[in-house]
C-alpha cells in the first residue's frame, strides 16, 4: 500500500464507522474528532476494523497516533506497506 492508499484505507474505515459523514474533504492535519462526529465507541470501531481488515493491532497506548489522517499515515504506513487495500463492501 502506498501512503495514498493508506489514507484511502483509513477513510474507508471511517466511512463504515460513520456512514452519515462525508469523509471526502477531511483535512489531514486537523484532528478527526474535530471534523466529524466520532466518539470513543466509534474510535474502538476504527481500531477493530483495522484489526479485521488488515490484521493490525493498535495497542491502547498508540491510540493517540490515530488522531489525524496525517498521523494515521505516519503510524500505519509501515504496518500496511506490504498489504493490499481492501475493497469496500
Amino acid at each position: 500500500m502506498t501512503e495514498e492508499e493508506v489514507i484511502q484505507a483509513v477513510k474507508d474505515i471511517i466511512q463504515t464507522v460513520a456512514p452519515d459523514e462525508d469523509v471526502s474533504g477531511l483535512d489531514p492535519d486537523v484532528r478527526l474528532r474535530e471534523q466529524i462526529d466520532l466518539d470513543s465507541m466509534d474510535f474502538l470501531d476504527i481500531v477493530m476494523e483495522l484489526r479485521k481488515l488488515y490484521g493490525v493491532q493498535v495497542p491502547e497506548e498508540d491510540y493517540k497516533e490515530l488522531a489525524t489522517l496525517a498521523s494515521c499515515v505516519r503510524y500505519l504506513h509501515p504496518k500496511l506497506s506490504a498489504k493490499q487495500l481492501a475493497l469496500r463492501v
Partner: protein
C-alpha cells in the same frame, strides 16, 4: 380497593410485516393481505417469516442503526410514530415522567449469534469480540434506545414475558400512570426474533415450525392443515395517558384500558394449560367488571400449532360459550407470530373496530378443524357486526405465562 385513575390509549406507532402504520396495517387485515414471505437465515436455510418494511431511517441515522439493534430500531420507529399519532408535544412534559415499556419475548440472541460468527472467522480470538456487544444485548436495550433517541429521562425498561409480553408493557405503563409515577407511557411490545437462527431451529426441533409452499398460507390458526408457527418481527407501542390528561389536551382517544390480568400456569415449560388460560381471561373480565357476554370481540393468541390452537379454542368456548354477540378473530394468520410484539400488534389491528364495527377475519381457514370450532369465529373475510364496544386481547407464552387485556370505548 380505591377507585383507580382511568387509562386511555391515545396514539399507536407500529411496524408490522404488512403495514408500517395503523391505517396500512388495518387495510391489510381487512383486505386479506399477508405479510409473510420467503426468508433465508444461516444454518436454517430457506424458510418463511414475517419481515417488516418500515423506514428505519425516518427517525435514526445510519450510525444509530449500525450501533444499535433491530429491536431498538423498531422501538424507536414505533415510539416516534406513537408520539406523532397522539399529537403529543414531548417538550410540554417533564422528560423524567415519561416511561417506555416494550414487552419482549427474548433479547440478545441475535447479537450474540452474530458475534460468535464474527469471532469464529478469527479462530475465536476474543480481541475481535465487539465492544458493542453488552449495550446491544442488555435486556433494556430497545427501551433504552428510545430514551436516547427522544431524550427521555423517565423509567424505561423491557418486560420479558415470552409470547405473552405484548400485553405486559401496556399493563405496566398503565400501572405506573395509576401510581402517579409517570404522566405518559410509550408501551407495547417489540421483536427482532427473525434474525436469530436459534428460534427457528428450536421451533423446528419441537416440530412447531410451519412449512408451506406458499409463505402467505403458512400461518393458518384453527385450520385443519396447520403445522406450526411462522416467526415474525415487528413492534407496536401505544401512547398511554390518564383519561383526565387526555381530555384536558383534547386528544383523540382510541380506547380505554378497562381491565387486565397476568398469571402463570405453573405446570410446564412449553405446554399450555387450559386452566391457566381460562383463569387469566376470567381475571381480566373481573378486573374490567364485565361478564363474558359483554365482550364483543376476542382477539386470540393462536399460533397455528396443532395442539396450542385446540387448547385455546377449548378455553374460548369454556369462557365465552354461546354468547350471541361475541366475535372471535386472529391476527397471526396474516403476519405470523411477532413474539414480544404479537399481543400489542394484535390489539392495535383491532382498535379500529371500536369505531367502524368491522371485525377483521382470521385468514387461511380452508377447512376449520372441528377441535377449533368457536362460535362467531370470523374466517377469511371481514364481518361488519354493527357495533364493537369491547375487545379482549390475549397472549400466552412459554413457562406458562398468560396475559389478557380488555379495552373498550370510553363511557361517560
Amino acid at each position: 380497593m380505591p377507585e383507580l385513575a382511568r387509562i386511555v390509549l391515545t396514539g399507536v406507532g407500529l411496524a408490522a410485516p404488512n403495514g408500517s402504520s395503523l391505517p396500512e396495517f388495518r387495510e391489510s387485515l381487512l383486505s386479506g393481505r399477508s405479510g409473510v414471505s420467503s426468508y433465508e437465515i444461516r444454518h436454517v436455510g430457506k424458510t418463511q417469516a414475517g419481515v417488516c418494511g418500515y423506514d428505519a431511517l425516518r427517525y435514526q441515522s445510519k450510525k444509530d442503526l449500525r450501533r444499535g439493534t433491530r429491536a431498538g430500531s423498531i422501538a424507536v420507529y414505533c415510539a416516534n410514530e406513537a408520539v406523532r399519532d397522539a399529537g403529543l408535544d414531548l417538550a410540554a412534559y417533564d422528560a423524567a415522567r415519561i416511561g417506555v415499556f416494550p414487552g419482549i419475548t427474548e433479547h440478545g440472541n441475535v447479537e450474540t449469534e452474530h458475534e460468535i460468527h464474527e469471532v469464529a472467522k478469527y479462530g475465536f480470538d476474543l480481541s475481535f469480540w465487539s465492544h458493542h456487544h453488552n449495550p446491544r444485548t442488555v435486556a433494556n436495550n430497545p427501551a433504552g434506545e428510545v430514551t436516547l433517541n427522544l431524550g427521555l429521562k423517565g423509567p424505561a425498561y423491557c418486560l420479558g414475558g415470552a409470547c405473552a409480553a405484548g400485553n405486559l408493557g401496556l399493563i405496566h405503563g398503565a400501572q405506573l400512570l395509576r401510581l402517579g409515577e409517570i404522566d405518559l407511557a410509550l408501551a407495547g411490545g417489540v421483536s427482532e426474533s427473525i434474525r436469530t437462527f436459534g428460534i427457528f431451529a428450536s421451533f423446528a426441533a419441537e416440530g412447531a415450525l410451519a412449512r408451506h409452499e406458499d409463505p402467505a398460507r403458512a400461518s393458518r390458526p384453527f385450520d385443519k392443515a396447520r403445522n406450526g408457527i411462522v416467526v415474525a418481527e415487528g413492534g407496536c407501542l401505544f401512547a398511554l395517558e390518564r383519561l383526565e390528561d387526555a381530555r384536558a389536551r383534547g386528544a383523540r382517544i382510541y380506547a380505554e384500558l378497562l381491565g387486565h390480568c397476568v398469571n402463570s400456569d405453573g405446570t410446564d415449560f412449553v405446554l399450555p394449560d387450559p386452566a391457566g388460560q381460562n383463569a387469566c381471561i376470567r381475571g381480566a373480565l373481573k378486573s374490567a367488571r364485565l361478564a363474558a357476554h359483554e365482550i364483543d370481540l376476542v382477539s386470540t393468541h393462536a399460533t397455528s400449532t396443532p395442539s396450542g390452537d385446540a387448547v385455546e379454542a377449548r378455553v374460548v368456548r369454556e369462557v365465552f360459550g354461546d354468547g350471541p354477540r361475541t366475535y372471535v378473530n386472529n391476527t397471526k394468520s396474516f403476519i405470523g407470530h411477532a413474539m414480544g410484539a404479537a399481543g400489542a400488534l394484535e390489539l392495535a389491528g383491532n382498535l379500529p373496530s371500536l369505531t367502524d364495527g368491522v371485525v377483521h377475519p382470521t385468514i387461511n381457514v380452508d377447512e376449520l378443524d372441528p377441535e377449533c370450532a368457536i362460535k362467531n369465529l370470523v374466517t377469511n373475510a371481514p364481518l361488519s357486526v354493527g357495533r364493537v364496544d369491547t375487545i379482549l386481547n390475549m397472549s400466552f407464552g412459554m413457562l406458562g405465562i398468560n396475559s389478557a387485556v380488555v379495552v373498550g370505548n370510553v363511557r361517560s
